[in-house]
């Protein structure tokens, strides 16, 4: 019986198993190569592709939990698995094409193993329904990302970034654990469904519960870099190797969001009450008296405002993108305030378009630093005329991040603000849009330097290999196309809202 259940679980755990095997294979293969080689990169890609294949096979699997209610296999986790694999795949390509990593004297084998480990951690974060599992998944992805951030051992900036990351990470996981222990003390269980059932049936001290929630938010907020747990973000983003920064800004953020959504919606739903639908509005029913959506609203507003305002003063492109990604997390949190399937699907849509536009922006930044040896925006004057394709793509990503129509970013914002307005949060929507105006200022500052100011000194054209251009277009074209034909994406997001255990 026990074996039966484990075997049954394993049969639905192929993607994760494949990733684990990939990690081991990379570590093993490493033993046979003394010199730098791309072999482990290709293995990583093969592993990701295989995991993708097996994820696709799960597309119509009925929502369920496996391994004794530790991990859920449902459309929600499916969405994040696809997202994480896509992002992992692109990051491997980025690493191939980044001069920064190629020129470093280090072997890249462990790098790919850690990248896959981070992806695996993200998989588990998106699907765990038990707080113990959730904590382990979080630590798996955190530990890999600490090492990745400090991957250039000999670089001052890289190891400093890693140290800051590990300290902030340690503190927030400590806070989160304290929160988990309080919830365990209150409910006597770590299972999210049991927590929800207990809280719905028994009166509890709401103050203690709120303190526990705040403590847990430290863990989530740190992963998605929400204010006030964002302090590590700019430093780590600036100091880490650029592909790692891109990975942190998308994969680990997406996984953090997955965990946040699942935990809050499942653990704090009012289990006794069926979901009600009024006036075409479908809302999740949360515990009465527990005002966590309001807390999220405050955090969301603070996050995007801080991110946007501070980004204005940045000269370093990576730092600017760091603050911009803080602000983007704020927009996504806004949609969570609604606590309805519409809001969640808006979040998922935004995450998907964010994958393309943010990875695109980072890839463009990688190429700029490859060719122009600079990360400073002021030194990018006039490069729009020296490498038009690169800079036009960068412009597309910037405009998309700021949410101009005809780009994917607009669709993301449109869905988020529709969800907000639909549920009566008009002022929140207005604050969000005012933030967009602020963000425009720094996004177009980059465009200004690239296109409006004439190049100084060398004005020769700088071109890239075909591989670079293809990858750049592979990110820029979806960013535009998803701005015009986004039906399939939003359908996918709406389908993926089905979280196991929620009506």
């Amino acid at each position: 019986m026990l074996t039966q259940q484990i075997l049954d679980g394993l049969s639905k755990f192929y993607p994760e198993t494949i990733l684990s095997v990939t990690i081991l294979v990379i570590v093993f293969v490493e033993l046979f190569f003394k010199k730098k080689t791309r072999v482990s990169g290709w293995i990583a890609m093969a592993g990701l592709a295989a995991a993708m294949l097996f994820t696709f096979l799960q597309v119509n699997i009925p929502a369920q939990t496996i391994f004794f209610q530790m991990v859920a296999v449902d459309p929600f986790s499916y969405f994040f698995k696809v997202l994480l694999i896509l992002s992992g795949f692109l990051i491997v390509l980025f690493t191939f094409l980044s001069d920064e990593i190629r020129s470093s004297e280090f072997k890249t084998q462990e790098y790919y193993a850690l990248l896959i480990a981070l992806t695996l951690g993200g998989f588990l974060m998106a699907s765990s329904v038990n707080l113990l599992m959730m904590y382990l998944a979080l630590e798996l992805s955190s530990l890999s990302s600490y090492v990745l951030a400090g991957y250039f051992k000999k670089s001052n900036r890289s190891s400093e970034a890693a140290l800051k990351y590990v300290i902030y990470g340690g503190v927030s996981s400590g806070l989160m654990l304290f929160g988990i222990s309080l919830i365990y003390g209150i409910c006597g269980s770590l299972d999210m469904f049991a927590i929800s059932a207990y809280l719905s049936a028994n009166p509890v001290n709401l103050i203690t519960l709120l303190i526990a929630i705040f403590l847990m938010l430290a863990g989530f907020g740190y992963k998605i870099s929400a204010v006030p747990f964002h302090f590590w973000t700019p430093d780590v983003y600036e100091g880490s190797p650029m592909p790692v920064t891109a990975l942190l800004s998308v994969s680990s953020k997406a996984a953090g969001f997955a965990m946040l959504i699942r935990f809050f919606l499942v653990a704090f739903q009012n289990a006794g009450h069926p979901t009600i639908t009024t006036e075409g509005l479908h809302q999740y029913i949360t515990l009465p008296g527990l005002h966590w959506p309001e807390v999220i609203a405050v955090i969301a507003v603070a996050t995007m405002t801080l991110g946007n305002v501070v980004a204005i003063w940045q000269d370093n492109l990576k730092r600017l993108l760091a603050y911009s990604s803080i602000a983007q997390a704020g927009y996504m949190l806004l949609a969570f305030v609604v606590v309805s399937p519409q809001g969640i699907s808006a979040m998922l849509t935004y995450l998907a378009v964010y994958l393309f536009m943010n990875l695109g922006a980072f890839f463009a930044a990688i190429l700029i630093s490859n060719k122009y040896k600079t990360e400073n925006i002021e030194e990018m004057k006039g490069i729009g005329y020296r490498s038009p394709l690169l800079c036009v793509s960068m412009a597309v990503f910037m405009l998309s991040l700021s949410g101009i129509p005809m780009t994917a970013g607009f669709i993301g914002k449109f869905y988020i603000f529709s969800a907000l307005i639909n549920n009566g949060y008009i002022w929140l929507a207005i604050i969000g849009l005012m933030n967009s105006v602020v963000s425009l200022y720094y996004y177009i500052k980059i465009l200004k330097n690239m296109f409006l100011i004439r190049p100084q000194g060398d004005t020769g054209a700088v071109s890239f290999g075909a591989g670079y251009s293809v990858l750049l277009l592979a990110l820029a074209i979806p960013t535009i196309v998803l701005g015009i034909f986004f039906g399939p994406l939003t359908k996918f997001a709406e389908y993926s809202v089905q979280i196991f255990g929620l009506k």
Binding site: I167, V171, L177, F178, G188
Partner: protein, 99 residues
């Protein structure tokens, strides 16, 4: 003995840990303070486990201990890498990156 004593002790330890992280300037001591935070959480788990009479909390403690060890390994490795570059582990002097 009631559970409160244990919880208060754990809270004290946790607060010492948090204060240490915020106040101490030596990266290794900061790390030890993080460990202290984790251990105080362990204490909470164990006391709740015994109070509630279920074993889940104690299982969690094992996992925390393992993860804490892993985290310490990674953290110390990073501190060593940094020390080789900068010859200091004073957090105030680790300041190339700032806004």
């Amino acid at each position: 003995m009631g559970i409160n004593y244990f919880l208060i002790l754990a809270l004290l330890l946790f607060s010492i840990g948090v204060a240490g992280v915020l106040l101490r300037r030596n990266a290794i001591i900061v790390f030890m303070c993080i460990e202290l935070m984790l251990n105080s959480v362990n204490l909470v788990f164990v006391s709740f486990s015994s109070y509630l009479g279920n074993s889940i909390g104690q299982i969690f403690v094992f996992f925390i201990m393992t993860v804490a060890a892993a985290e310490a390994a990674v953290g110390l490795a990073i501190i060593i890498a940094l020390f080789r570059n900068k010859e200091t582990i004073n957090i105030d002097e680790i300041n190339i990156l700032k806004w």
